[in-house]
Symmetry: C2
Subunit: 226 residues, 2 copies
Amino acid sequence: MGQFCLPLGISPEDAKRIDILVKERIRLEKGQALFNIGDPFSAVYSVRFGSLKTLFVLPDGRQQITGFHLPGDLVGLDSVVNQSHMSSVRALEDTEVCVIPAMELITLSRELPSLHIQFTRLLSQEISNDHRKLLMIGSLRAEERLATFLLDLSERLSIRGYSSTEFVLRMSREEIGSYLGMKLETVSRLFSRFARAGLIRIQQKQVKIIDMDGLRQVLNGGSERE
Amino acid sequence: MGQFCLPLGISPEDAKRIDILVKERIRLEKGQALFNIGDPFSAVYSVRFGSLKTLFVLPDGRQQITGFHLPGDLVGLDSVVNQSHMSSVRALEDTEVCVIPAMELITLSRELPSLHIQFTRLLSQEISNDHRKLLMIGSLRAEERLATFLLDLSERLSIRGYSSTEFVLRMSREEIGSYLGMKLETVSRLFSRFARAGLIRIQQKQVKIIDMDGLRQVLNGGSERE
DNA sequence: CGGATGGTTGAGCTGGATCAACAAACGTGG
DNA sequence: CCACGTTTGTTGATCCAGCTCAACCATCCG
């Protein structure tokens, strides 16, 4: 049942063991929620195909997207061993996830030291990633953040065997803006600017990276302090 | 040796077990590094007394502080099971930490299911905290971020048995600014504004919260969209 | 084909940054 | 203990990156 639900960052052997835990898959249509803030926590999920976003909503309606998830990513890690989910997760497109029951995963990882270590590493990596995101939105200018976003997405797609230079954005300008801490108009303008500068070609959600190094230099040359 | 190195969020019994792993304590003077980016990873650390900051430095000198750590906090969680540290940690004042060897901790937690679960919960909570920080710097205005910072610090101090309304800031305006994604001048101006509004009294690093609810309303009333 | 949703672009505004001057506290050495 | 430089904080004046408001266009879908 669970086959092909291989979380990235887990060795093939242990992935197979996890696979056995998977008794259920969930199909989500675009926009549908996998879970919402406050829902009881019972499992983590591995993206099988499609893509997801993690988001928080403030009482006044403002929202922050804290992550986009591609096939092989594990979601729900911020709620492990909690009573209820701390965030909401929604599908960016038609998506399927494997349900990995949390308690079974914890129990199994006690029997399999290597799984234990790998799961701990995944949690730790997630923390490290979040710190990089904090660095990004706390210290970089809008232009640098968007370049980072493209480079990061490119790399993650390439790891999964997709083209690193040509891909489709599964999320809207507004969602990109929310993730990067800027408004959708700013995202749109910067995409246009990157295109004018010959760094990318973009029409709609179809992106082609033309000058990867140029994109990297948006980061270095960012502040241009002599 | 290790006694009184009790990490918050670990049950007293398990804390005692961890305590046995502690063979070493490290004394840090103000400004001294516990470790730097790239240093080989070997342990996590529990703050015994004093306080620390976690930071990242960009090639061009810009830096981002991603966390302040009080007694009972565990630091180094973003590097667990990695080869090397992903961030730097420095002392904000004279500080002592307990060294908890990582491999021993992992091994012990295999034998003690309750410890395993608690350690996993701590990692997960750290992720959840980081998401809240992303929400804060990505979606809130400067004023709201600073109010959040004060309320958060107040709560953490109160959990540790200190006054929730009167405390000393261990960090400079510049460090607060780096943490919150704003400049030190803005921090200083906002402190003055809060003081003028009768929310706090502040001189130097000595803070007294006068109107806790008012401070909370800085958050709610933030955007004032009827 | 028409309405809705999503993206682009312009014009003008503003929150927070930058630049700058000064003031207060803190060593440090005599 | 005081004088003195250094570091840290405050406040003012000005600037600008990114936001807001608005008009328009493209695409998608029933």
